[in-house]
Amino acid sequence: MEKFQRLTAKVAPLDRSNVDTDAIIPKQYLKSVKRTGFGPTLFDDWRYLDPGEPGMDHSQRRQNPDFVLNDPRYQGAQVLLARKNFGCGSSREHAVWALTDYGFRAVIAPSYADIFFSNSFKNGLLPLVLDEAIVDQLFNEVLAEPGYQLTVDLEAQTVETPSGERFSFQVDPFRRHCLLNGLDDIGLTLQHADDIRAYEQKRGAEAPWLFPA
């Protein structure tokens, strides 16, 4: 997994609450058996005016000029600013793969749906939570100032605006540690293989029906 430490980048504002993972990556693209290549179809139904299918050359499709990611001023954005309950709905990790493949490294929102939140950390995408009032302020600043950038520092747990204003954010220590160091969860868990075997022994004696031969 790619490490996340410190990032200074342009911000794209997506001013909608309850953005669901069907909107982030529509179902027809979930037929892929790969982890990559989802960036061109991120927010497909909102981003393009014509219907999209897997295998198309998406660069040839008609873009919706009213959609934020098609606005030239937000090209190259690596931070997505969003509203509450971002990533609700389906568990599809393809939603996170689409965001990272597009180039996003962090999302800022007042809240996230649980599964999306968890999936993000497994892919080097930092979903950081700021109060609704601060998110409101950031929306106002991004809209007012072309080229607006934020600095996200995971080590210090701060977000810094161009004017030098700093907001701190909370993040689970274990997830922070994994993201800072780009650690593979499975490798970490397998270091505890003896604990897993010991659990199986004990549980198998208590609840043998869960361990059929």
Partner: protein, 468 residues
Amino acid sequence: MTGKTLYDKLWDAHVVRREDDDTALLYIDRHLVHEVTSPQAFEGLRLAGRQPWRTNTVLAVPDHNVPTTDRDRGIADPVSRIQVETLQDNVTSLGITFFPMSDVRQGIVHVIGPEQGATLPGMTVVCGDSHTSTHGAFGALSVGIGTSEVEHVLATQCLLQKKMKNMLVSVDGKVGPGVTAKDIVLAIIGEIGTAGGTGCAIEFGGEAIRDLSMEGRMTVCNMAIEAGARAGMVAVDQTTIDYVKDRPYAPRGEHWEQAVAAWRELKSDPDAKFDHVVHIDAAGIQPQVSWGTSPEMVAPIGGRVPDPALSGDAVKTRGMERALEYMGLQAGMPVTDIQVDKVFIGSCTNGRLEDIRAAAQVVKGRRVAENVKLAMVVPGSGLVKQQAEQEGLDKVFLEAGFEWRDPGCSMCLAMNADRLEPGERCASTSNRNFEGRQGLGGRTHLVSPAMAAAAAVAGHFVDVRDMN
């Protein structure tokens, strides 16, 4: 010492080791796998040279991509076909139990787990699918996971989890006649909102929940995720135990007796503390119809489409306005004035035998309305289909002008050929009314099977209680 909730008990029984904070490594008893969210996980295992930890906990089935007609011709869409074949290759090479499309036991993963007795009380159940919350109906801890977690569970039999908060949603008293599990859960989501259960495991309790069959409890727990909760659950009682008994993967003999004794403890202690408690009056619940693009946007059948201006919150008002525009509806119009183009009865929410029986009862002796272009029933599994046919229900639907299909996820998410065209309006027994969910530009109204059947017959939404 204060008592434990059902969730606390399930959690404690599965902790392999605690990390420094409130994160723990939880042992997973059952892993359900389908074709959409697993290929990258199996690939990850191969690339890392890892073997699955315990393959006999895994049950795999294709459901999202499978066609619901002309099965003998295979899957026409080559991309879908490759995904289903990839699943088969991945699991058969590892000796994992697999129900192919040709097997009568094939069906939607959340229908077949319980049907086979692969889902048992007291288990931890995971699947790379958010509607895994369904299995909590059995007094199990059951959560939807992402593909990285699918790989993690395959490799380690464990899941790193942060403990959720305890939430109790108590539906007090009895529902009126004609009000179903689907109406109960839509009313709950309407009350607490789509993020009302975020960060929580919801236990559904109260007389109205205890009165439900296992099918009804599964419908309620299925949509816990639509209230933001990764897990929904119902305490074990005799209804649970009677359902599980003699199913193919259920314990037998001495193990059965031992298991039942343990399962009877799977309920919250009387003095257990919940972080959040919500009470809902069952008698006040009417049949529900969703009017918008989020499952919290629901109205009773006797009600009207709400006015966004009255929401009292600017962000919410904008969301409601967008939803009305997308849905092509006007604020203030009666719900019964909404006409439908298509009707879909099926999905992991409402594709079980009880659902099909309820719809058939409404349809019997009636015809699908002229303005309805397509009304279809997609049983949740091959065994549900077989049983319904033994009861003659297929004929009831076919005589009324419905299509009777083969099992799968179908038009709940339209990954196969079953979908809405832009602008088409559907009465659907599924779980999500998101923009484009049932097809680009499609408009979904979530309802119970009986209400979907009534809409098919009337051509618009109608109170099913007035039809008898």
